[in-house]
Amino acid sequence: MASSDWLDIVGWTESMTSWSMDNVHDLMPSEDIDLQVTIPSTWAWPDPFTIGPIFNLQDGFASIQPALEAFMHAMIMSTVVFGMMMTTMLAIPYIERKFIGRLMDRLGATTTLRSLWVGESGVTGGEWWNKLPFGVGGPIGWVIGALNKTWGNSHELETISRVNNRSYHGYWFLLPGFFQAFADFFKFATKEHIVPRDADKVVFEVAPVIILSTTIMVFAFVPFGPHIYAANPDLSLLFMMAIFGVAPLGVFFAGWASNNKYTLIGGMRSAAQLTAYEIPLLITVLGVAVLSGSFNIIEIVDFQIGREEGNVWNIFMMPLGALLFLITMIAEVERIPFDMPEAEAELVEGWWTEYGGIRWGLMFAAEYMRSYAACILFALFFLGGWEAPFQHTLADLPWVGGMVEFGLSLIPGVGWILLKAWGLFAVFVWIRASLHRVRTDQILEFGWRYLLPLSLLHLVLAIAIRLLFWDGGPWNILLPIAITAISGGIFVILAIDEDKDALEIQRRPYSTQAVVKASPGSHNA
């Protein structure tokens, strides 16, 4: 049973297009229009003969109507999906900025909110609440006092972290950085288009087109909900992975065409890295398709959420695959720790150094679009797509199940996908803020020597599980529990089991000279 919710945009569009085309059909005149011409006989031919068509507009329209309907449907769905993608993508740079800011201990706009109650030297923003009319400030003052007790400044932090105590700047605190993305985009759009003098003009212009168009085309096959997709061929997974892999070609073109040694190095690094990580990615995705029994993304999701199908999210059936997908996707979208091709410290933006203005802006947007696509794909392949967590379990609860099911059905599936994708993007940002950049040859070594065998192992496991344990119905609940427990156990063992001596030698710690190291407790007062 294919999953479904009330937000049936594909259905509505189909019915609307067929309704509108039917109306056009009915409006067409239904009489035959006789366009035949009879040529009288001349010395060349003795008998008169008739040529020409009998034109029936309505029938003619009826013959092209399916194509027109499909075209109109595709146009509308593409626009809807593209619009939905761009609108929801606004959250992505927002998450990145705010979360990285918080991880780097720059509180940012949350500081502005916090500054409403936090004080400096005991005074809060001029005690702004007392200025409100009619004395409504009193209760506000109590609330502020309470907030200061729980989330205020301790005396020590006050002097030390005062850089984080921004002041109340008026009502702008309501819009903390929301319009930054628009401002950035307008800035890019208004900048000059500079082409390096000896650059290969054709390839220089073609490269951003390739990158951007293939990235956007990926979203044609990505379903945002059970009935929100632009195209849904039977092999949508293969199509999408193929198109996802064309962008590296554009990257290489860009690096080479700019007539710049830096970009050339960046382009080569990128080509090597992306090629190296395409293969584990494809094998991982193949494992997912094998386990779910289909190359169609919607069917993969249905397999995870359907009561009569798998009924278990794939992340619990193949945690190794999920981890591999995460790592290879981070390498594919060239984020830290794998962003050597654009490594700022050596190559100052790498393969896109020479691009400015809207070309750079759109390629930058394309990188975020690819990250977004990676997050949505992870949500679709492993996190059950548009299903709420524990949806069937909650719906089966004895007393409240019906209400829960009704409540959950009010939320369209697209909401769950977006939440999962955004949450996963926060994980991407977290990784970016904490890890260092891996060197190119180390990236390649990691990809070929570690990820490739692991992805093959994942494929073998997927095949084995599917063949041995799948009987046409839902997975036995013990199976995902066992798999998750075993994988978690292996992970924990690898994480905590360290050869202490080897670690000491590797880390070569610390001052061999200071017998009493300077530490917080070793001085009095």
């Binding site: 020590e156 080569m268 830290i336 410290a345 050596e346 904490s434 060197r439």
Partner: protein, 378 residues
């Protein structure tokens, strides 16, 4: 791919200053390097020939702007040698506190800049957050956040402000806790270990012959430090020892140079705390400026034929001033001021260290030597 020369700089995020590093690469491997300095040569040595001795201190702050106090003190010790001035002990303690806190701030700046070189963006903001604490302390002492003009020939400009000792102790203790955060982000990250170990080897005897000293040298398993080798100030009164790293057989790599500086920050913090405890007159008394406890009278002329020189342990190595007296104004101005910058000598050595490694190792190696171009170009 054929060999080609790439020019890293002068505008480049890696270079920590304005200079060019021309690198000859064969694919991704560095085959040859050639550093190119002098972009911010401001002619400080020539300018100082037309300034009084007290006016030169401000120029010396601006030599290495990230570590301003160490440079102005380096000059002051040489000027004291030239003019033969006795400095009161309390002034020496105050100078030591200023120098060590400045050393912490300079290393924090380096640590914060080293992270983005290798790819970690968060550490920059964290280190600058702590550096703000140190800059607050130095602002209380010197009056401004970056170029303090703090020492005077014969002492210091002014005494520790009221409450300085309490604030300094609180901030230094907090800082000692926070160092563990940085170590977590660096030492516990396999990626950092993989990027910085085994890269940029340098052996101590070779380094000494090349003129490299300071933390770069101590990363290689020898504890040479100008503070005990050619003693000055009151380091003999404090309980400290220069941090040394046990390097690998091939020499010190980037990881060792990073660890040595982290340990140096700890040692500097403990030295500053000890100095606050031991300062003669107590850390909570405040003497007015020009009180003989903190400033001795100094002659202002140095006749021709005299000269002064002093070796000093700067944040980046051994710095030195040589001043020849007898300039204009019957000796009110120096005849020649010559400045030895440790990084001026370290950069060619670091450029040699890079040969044989990958292009991606260039920022790791160069960053680990802690270049500061202000002092290089003077």
């Amino acid at each position: 791919m054929a060999e080609m020369w790439i020019s890293m700089g002068p505008q480049h995020p890696m270079t920590h200053g304005l200079w060019t590093l021309k690198v000859k690469v064969d694919g991704e491997t560095v085959v040859d390097t050639e550093p190119d300095l002098g972009y911010i040569h401001r002619g400080v040595e020539k300018i100082c020939e037309a300034r009084d001795f007290t006016q030169i201190t401000t120029y010396c702050d601006r030599l290495c702007y990230a570590s301003a106090n160490t440079w102005s003190h380096s000059y002051i010790y040489a000027a004291a040698d030239l003019l033969e001035v006795e400095v009161p002990e309390r002034a020496e303690y105050i100078r030591l506190i200023a120098i060590e806190i400045q050393r912490i701030a300079s290393h924090l700046m380096w640590l914060g800049a080293y992270g983005p070189d290798i790819g970690n963006l968060s550490i920059m903001v964290w280190c600058l957050r702590e550096r703000e604490m140190m800059m607050d302390l130095l602002q209380e002492l010197g009056g401004s956040r970056m170029h303090y003009n703090f020492p005077r020939i014969g002492g210091v400009k002014r005494d520790l402000p009221y409450g300085f000792a309490q604030r300094a102790r609180a901030k230094l203790k907090l800082f000692l806790n926070r160092i563990q955060e940085y170590e977590a982000l660096y030492d516990e990250s396999t990626i950092f270990l993989v990027r910085s170990q085994g890269v940029g080897y340098a052996k101590p005897e070779e380094m000494v012959n090349h003129g490299v000293s300071g933390p770069n040298l101590r990363a290689a398993g020898v504890n040479y430090d100008v503070r005990w080798a050619h003693p000055y100030s009151v380091y003999s009164e404090l309980d400290w020892s220069a941090p040394v790293e046990r390097s690998s057989i091939k020499g010190a790599d980037c990881y060792d140079r990073y660890r040595v500086r982290v340990e140096e920050m700890r040692v500097s913090a403990s030295m500053a705390l000890q100095a606050l405890d031991k300062i003669p007159g107590g850390a909570d008394t405040h003497y007015e400026p020009e009180d003989p406890m903190i400033l001795a009278k100094a002659p202002s002329r140095a006749p021709e034929g005299t000269s002064g020189a002093h070796h000093f342990e700067d944040s980046r190595g051994e710095s030195m001033f040589y001043i020849a007296g007898g300039g204009e104004g019957r000796g009110k101005q120096p005849y020649r001021v010559s400045i030895r910058s440790p990084i001026f000598i370290t950069i060619p050595f670091a450029a040699k260290c890079m040969i044989g490694y990958k292009v991606a190792d260039i920022p790791a190696i160069m960053g680990s030597f802690d270049p500061c171009i202000g002092e290089t170009d003077r």
